[in-house]
């Protein structure tokens, strides 16, 4: 079977290797997915007027801020993992990607704790419009985090064997995984103030 072309070299017509064009098309579709959710939030909030609760009165702002910092650090370690591969330093790549995965799990743990606290206080998606949009938006975001953990864990574990056979291709794969991870961080950068601070 022939190898898939343009995994390392760029195509002449796009100027990109295929995976990079693919991930940006995917991220563009993600912009529209989260765009629809943010638009729904704007519609619900403007429609509710003064009855819309301040997020800080219901949600734990400091936990949200802590999670924001966790995601920002994980974005940093993700890009350091890619930079380590560029410098051909595989152990440092493993370290940075491993930290990224652990930070993602920490984020999910804190989010799970937040959800559990809300349920203990009998705050469910059916409780109010605010809680419905809160659980929907943070839930969809958490699913993206889980997806990122699965992909990054694969590249940290069995997928990392490719480094020995095709290091350039592997570096490109990590760049693609990094772009996805930064996007997940980017979404949280807007989710946090919209839901927790305003």
């Amino acid at each position: 079977m022939d190898n898939i072309p343009y995994t390392v070299n760029v195509r002449e017509d796009t100027g990109l290797y295929n995976a990079k064009l693919g991930i940006w098309l995917f991220l563009a579709s993600e912009v529209m997915l989260f765009g629809a959710l943010f638009s729904s939030y704007v519609l619900l909030r403007t429609g509710a007027g003064a009855s819309w609760p301040a997020g800080s009165s219901i949600l734990h702002v400091h936990l949200g801020a802590f999670n924001s910092i966790v995601l920002l650090i994980s974005s940093m370690t993700m890009i350091l993992a890619w930079a380590a591969l560029k410098e051909k330093n595989f152990p440092r790549f493993k370290l940075n990607l491993g930290i990224t995965i652990l930070l993602a799990l920490l984020f999910l743990g804190v989010k799970g704790h937040e959800y559990a606290t809300k349920f203990e206080h009998h705050l469910f998606p059916s409780t109010s419009t605010f809680m419905a949009i809160y659980f929907l938006m943070t839930g969809v975001h958490a699913l993206h985090i889980i997806g990122g953990v699965v992909v990054n864990s694969y590249f940290w574990g069995p997928g990392s064997k490719m480094w020995k056979t095709d290091p350039e291709h592997f570096t490109n794969r990590i760049e693609i995984a990094g772009l996805y991870w930064h996007f997940v961080d980017l979404v949280w950068i807007f989710l946090f103030p919209v839901l927790y601070l305003l």
Binding site: A28, V31, F34, T46, L80, A83, E87, H182
Partner: protein, 104 residues
């Protein structure tokens, strides 16, 4: 993306990371410490901070600043769709006749 000097890039990433953390702190501070700014000031301020953070992540960490035009066009289309949707919703909301009420 063009060839880059990784050492200098890593230094740049650390600077951006520090700026992101500071901006996050400012946003939480504006919201938490009740700076008596009022919603008319604090909402644009907090959203403005989020936009600056978003710009730093997308433009610098995701390397959009040095990315091909094709990708910028793809993202511009998606972003236009997103902003249009929000403006459409806002336009619909503000065109509701005075006195009309939502029926639940």
């Amino acid at each position: 993306m063009a060839e880059i000097n990784i050492k200098s890039e890593i230094q740049k990433y650390f600077k951006i990371f520090i700026i992101l953390i500071v901006l996050m702190g400012v946003a939480v501070g504006v919201s938490s410490f009740k700076l008596n700014l009022g919603w008319a000031v604090s909402i644009p301020l907090i959203l403005g901070i989020a936009c600056v953070m978003g710009y730093l992540v997308s433009w610098q960490l995701m390397h959009l600043s040095s990315e091909k035009r094709t990708i910028l066009v793809i993202l511009a289309l998606a972003t236009t769709f997103f902003i249009s949707m929000i403006l459409l919703f806002l336009a619909a909301h503000f065109s509701i006749p005075e006195g009309a009420k939502y029926v639940s």
